[in-house]
Subunit: 220 residues, 2 copies
Amino acid sequence: MRKPTDTREKLLETAIALIWQSSYASVGVAEICKQAGVTKGSFYHYFTSKAELFYEACQHHWQVKKKELDAIYSPSFTPLQQLENLIRFVIDQQESEAVDENPVSGCPFFTAGAQSGCSELKVRQAAQEMSDNAVTYNVALVRNLKAEGLLNGDPAPQQIGRLLHEFIQGLLVTGRVYRSLELVKQDLREGIYRLVDLKAEYRCQPVADEAPVVAAPLPA
Amino acid sequence: MRKPTDTREKLLETAIALIWQSSYASVGVAEICKQAGVTKGSFYHYFTSKAELFYEACQHHWQVKKKELDAIYSPSFTPLQQLENLIRFVIDQQESEAVDENPVSGCPFFTAGAQSGCSELKVRQAAQEMSDNAVTYNVALVRNLKAEGLLNGDPAPQQIGRLLHEFIQGLLVTGRVYRSLELVKQDLREGIYRLVDLKAEYRCQPVADEAPVVAAPLPA
DNA sequence: CAGTATACATACCGGTTGGTATAGTGCAAG
DNA sequence: CTTGCACTATACCAACCGGTATGTATACTG
């Protein structure tokens, strides 16, 4: 046996990074390999196809994001704080991944999956699973808000969770098309607040600009 | 001069139809030509590039959709009816364009533009212009609702119009990824109603399933 | 030291892409 | 009848695509 290398992981991360910046279709296997400092031979040693690489890269990347989301939704926050954390998370995310030509990267899982249209079952599958993941977290958030009696009416958390995801995705894609992070910042909070429909007395509470979004997670 | 042919228009319509069903990237010039019964020579006689064809096809298609939207938003409807018309319009649209492998086509302008990411300025430009068009109509709707005093608070119609567009696009893209028109039907009305935030007394009024969505436009 | 499985490199494949060069065709004006 | 132009058909290109075949270096195992 040869000693294990980090080639595989390198490919996963490079793929995410590149596809993130442009799109699944416009990034070739060759480019991914070049950027990762790996040759095609190695690529197809670890992955059976480009679509499969994407699928696994999504899974891999989710493991990272999951930790961040767990911090966001830590029980050490009140539901209202969690809501604000989510908003900040989305924007931070976009800001950290912004590149010159593409100030809004959008959700990589999704933008790729969306275009797949007919072909590439594996890609669509990845987009679905990542969406399911995101919705699950949204639902938890809504449930928390509802449990505290902060919401008007008697909404179905499952549906509101979906609505949030649909809206956020649409907003990010729009921001991407317009190449405008400003648009995202303008509409994100307003859209989310309208979808969850907080009771009047809790609405639009100003949030400090420096408010830490990630706190130490509770020790079990 | 030779008698004018419909070659150009044929190409525009074929392009829309094909790209609609799958995606901009996965439909080649050759396929468009074949489907339109035209050869590549003719294609590049009328259009300088694939991207330009797409751009012009969008403009062409918008002229058709514009008429439908004008009917939807005819002053002969009350604002509430206009709102319901919009909801029905979106769903009818998807239902009429559904094909086996793709029950949700999404907005063709947008799904194409979204994926463009880095490349193809002309494609992104088309997506932007078509979005602007859509938002304009949304804004008009919100203004009507607000003018009748049907909305809570004092919302900015411009923003709500954007939110509606962002949500609808996100929903359609999600429906596309899940290949589920059912999802779209479930979430469309709820999302829209939450975003516009109608006063309680006007909310969720049941709408007859057979309600005509297109009425005779007012004679000037 | 032989055997073997892993890890990677080189070179190449057939197919498709968007785009072009060119020759030909139909038709109207001179 | 012929010239000229709008239009169309054929043939072709270089570039690139995802994927593969084959070879080799490494390193553990018996």
